[in-house]
């Protein structure tokens, strides 16, 4: 019983602080608003400390194996918590200017904390029930957060589309899980893997294969892989920018950690089934082809980033299709790079949006001269997104592609490389706007206001992007350690 509680301490802390903020903001009222962000930050830092103190290299399985603490979950929790910390940091300035979020601030941060808890639980869930519930714990708050600007039609619509497709996805996921349960008679991931190996189910039970594919459809919706990506552009564009950042980082982390748990631990021999591998390859190929080509004509930055994140999901799926040991840590490293560059790009875009009141790519015009430091950081993030050598994105893509080639998927990798050349065009377009096009708007907004906190976050993220190339061995080591127990 004690070990049960010790292993969920970080989650308990985050939940506790979320509830604390909710209660205090109801009882104290508006006066508390100023103190919310520091309290939340304290909670997250405490939780990071707790992961280091109790869970690091201290594998355990609690609550009758439904909750697993291993290296993967410890690294992933820290990763999630740091991402959440950065998002809270970015939100401090943002919420002051948003009428609706400001009005219900306590609830806003409560919901963000719940998304974080869901992601943490997802990375350490040991059975199908936990996977399903924590996926819901991530999605339900994000549906609400996407529609937080109640009087804004675009926000309403974003929330609605996300909700309908998200609920459909979880219904299909539930159906898939029920078939897997029927085929194996178990819901614990490790026991499912054992039963599949013992009875050789992947080659003779279509029930299991159909179930797995339906579950993959459900996860495909959540990670935004094409052909199930239709919610992504609309939701990204319509939601408040801080929530777009949340959806593109934490919600995606959750879906990917669930997918890693489900495929690499549950259906651990999925490479034996041609159907499953074929399905993943089709998903992956469609994602990066569609994502990159649809991004070309986009004029709205957030919509562009939606398509770009679809293509990144496609690249990560190559790692799943390869399904080797190397592919597993390659996916983890890619996720780290993806989060770093996405957070960076969005934090710059948020500053631009706050000063110039526009999310169009045109709004970036001329900032290369008025705000040289931020622009240089933005160039780093953009180059990193393309995957050209000197920055993090390159490391991510390199290892995923390498794993793909080693698993005899060279043709898939070649298509991937070609489409990332296409992506060069639209990322460079943003840089072109920053340096070669003059800003035509009122002169007061020419210089982007950059609060110290945001500049600090942006420079940390840029440094991280550079660090991944300078000392890649550190990150490879982290990735390898994270997947050792699989």
């Amino acid at each position: 019983m004690v070990i049960d509680l010790i292993s969920i301490i970080p989650e308990l802390i985050v939940t506790g602080f979320g509830l604390l903020v909710l209660m205090l903001s109801v009882f104290i009222g508006k006066k508390f608003d100023r103190a919310i962000a520091p309290v939340i930050t304290a909670g997250i830092v405490l939780a990071i400390g707790a992961v280091f103190a109790f869970n690091f290299y201290n594998p355990a399985s609690a609550f009758n194996n439904s909750f697993v603490v291993d290296n993967f979950s410890s690294f992933f929790r820290i990763f999630t918590l740091i991402t959440a910390l950065i998002i809270v940091g970015l939100s401090v300035g943002y919420v002051k200017e948003s009428v609706y979020i400001k009005r219900n601030l306590g609830e806003f941060y409560f919901l963000i904390m719940m998304v974080t808890v869901g992601t943490m639980l997802m990375s350490s869930s040991g059975d199908l029930i936990m996977l399903f519930l924590s996926l819901e714990l991530v999605s339900i708050p994000t549906y609400i957060l996407a529609g937080y600007e109640k009087m804004n039609e675009r926000s309403n619509e974003a929330s609605l589309k996300y909700f309908i497709l998200g609920v459909l996805a979880s219904a299909i996921l539930a159906y898939g899980f029920s078939l897997i349960y029927g085929a194996t008679g178990e819901i614990n991931l490790k026991e499912i893997a054992q039963i599949i190996i013992n009875r050789d189910l992947l080659s003779n039970s279509y029930l299991l294969i159909v179930g797995t594919i339906m579950a993959l459809i459900g996860f495909g919706f959540k990670i935004g892989a094409a052909p199930f990506h239709w919610w992504a552009p609309d939701t990204y564009e319509g939601s408040p920018t801080i929530i777009t950042t949340l959806i593109t980082t934490i919600a995606k982390l959750a879906a990917f950690s669930g997918l890693i748990r489900f495929l690499f631990i549950g259906i651990s021999r999925f490479k034996d089934s041609v159907w499953i591998i074929l399905f993943i390859i089709i998903l992956s190929m469609l994602s990066f082809i569609l994502g990159n080509f649809m991004a070309l004509p986009q004029k709205n930055f957030k919509r562009l980033m939606a398509y770009s994140s679809i293509s990144h999901a496609g690249y990560m799926l190559i790692g799943f299709a390869a399904a080797t040991m190397d592919a597993q840590w390659a996916v983890f490293v890619y996720l780290m790079a993806y989060i770093a560059m996405n957070l960076g790009a969005f934090s710059v875009a948020m500053l631009v949006e706050r000063t110039r009141k526009s999310e169009e790519i045109k709004a970036f015009a001329g900032m290369g001269y008025t705000n040289p430091f931020i622009s240089i950081c933005m160039i780093i993030f953009m180059i990193s997104m393309v995957g050209i050598p000197p920055f993090a994105g390159f490391i991510g893509k390199l290892f995923v592609f390498k794993a793909g080639v080693e698993a005899n998927l060279t043709w898939l990798v070649i298509i991937g490389v070609l489409t990332s050349v296409v992506s060069l065009w639209y990322y460079v377009n943003i840089i072109r706007h920053m340096y070669f096009i003059k800003y035509e708007g009122d002169a007061a907004a020419a210089k982007i206001k950059a609060p110290k906190l945001n500049v600090f976050i942006i420079s940390v993220l840029a440094l991280f992007n550079i660090a991944m190339v300078v000392v890649p061995s550190v990150f490879i080591l982290i990735g390898k350690n994270a997947v050792t127990l699989f």
């Binding site: 049960d4 509680l5 939940t15 009222g29 609550f63 909750f67 029930i129 519930l133 009087m151 029930l207």
Partner: protein, 222 residues
């Protein structure tokens, strides 16, 4: 008929009928407690909640001739293919069953059920309670009526920018905000009661339970 009903209210009632049939299946499968839960939660609250929403949105009550969009053929094809392939999969896959016939199954008692739920599945249970709380808070936030209508939106926007102002309007804003907080309790009853009610009938006391989780959290900190 849930799907083809031209009248949205009729569809909702057909859904209730369908769910009742599902509950019958549960009884045939010897899962009496779940059948009760299905009736209470699904019919008792979800369908009623949907009916509430229909009334609140004042949908045209009457026959809607154009209920479907133009992907009927494609959708029908998808559905039929899915159904046929699943049926084939079901009939050709060998599943080890303990009994050939549902009449030979063992009745699962509530005692066993709760025993398993509260020993093996405590963590999912706690998460479910947190999930319910989140959904409650979230739907209140989203559905809470905005006191300030769209026209005064710009005024509020300006106010938010110069927050230092101590004008009459600012005070009013604060009052409204406070009222909003107080309103939560009231709206809680309106919108949340179905949700909360359902959860209470289903998994026992939800709110005390979340308090428990919080208590555990504080214990953990100590």
């Amino acid at each position: 008929m849930v799907i083809t009903g031209k009248h949205i209210l009729h569809s909702a009632f057909y859904l209730a009928a369908t769910l009742l049939c599902v509950a019958m299946y549960f009884i045939m499968l010897r899962a009496e407690f779940l059948a009760a839960v299905e009736v209470l939660v699904y019919i008792g609250s979800i369908v009623v909640l949907i009916l509430f929403a229909l009334m609140l949105t004042r949908t045209k009550v009457g026959e809607d001739t154009n209920i479907s969009n133009n992907q009927k053929v494609f959708a029908a094809l998808t559905a039929v293919i899915l159904f046929v392939s699943l049926t084939l999969v079901f009939s050709y896959s060998k599943i080890d069953t303990v009994a050939e016939n549902a009449t030979a199954l063992k009745i699962s008692s509530i005692k066993d059920f709760s025993g398993i739920l509260f020993t093996k599945y405590t963590l999912p249970f706690e998460i479910a309670s947190i999930l319910l709380l989140t959904a409650l808070v979230g739907s209140i936030v989203i559905a809470m009526k905005e006191k300030l209508q769209t026209e005064s939106e710009t005024v509020v926007g300006q106010k938010s920018i110069d927050a230092g102002n101590t004008g009459n309007q600012n005070n009013e804003n604060n009052v409204l905000a406070n009222q909003g907080v107080q309103d939560i309790a009231a709206i809680d009853k309106n919108i949340g009661s179905n949700l909360a009610g359902s959860s209470e009938t289903m998994v026992g006391d939800v709110l005390p339970d979340t308090d428990d989780a919080k208590g555990e959290g504080q214990k953990g900190e100590n």
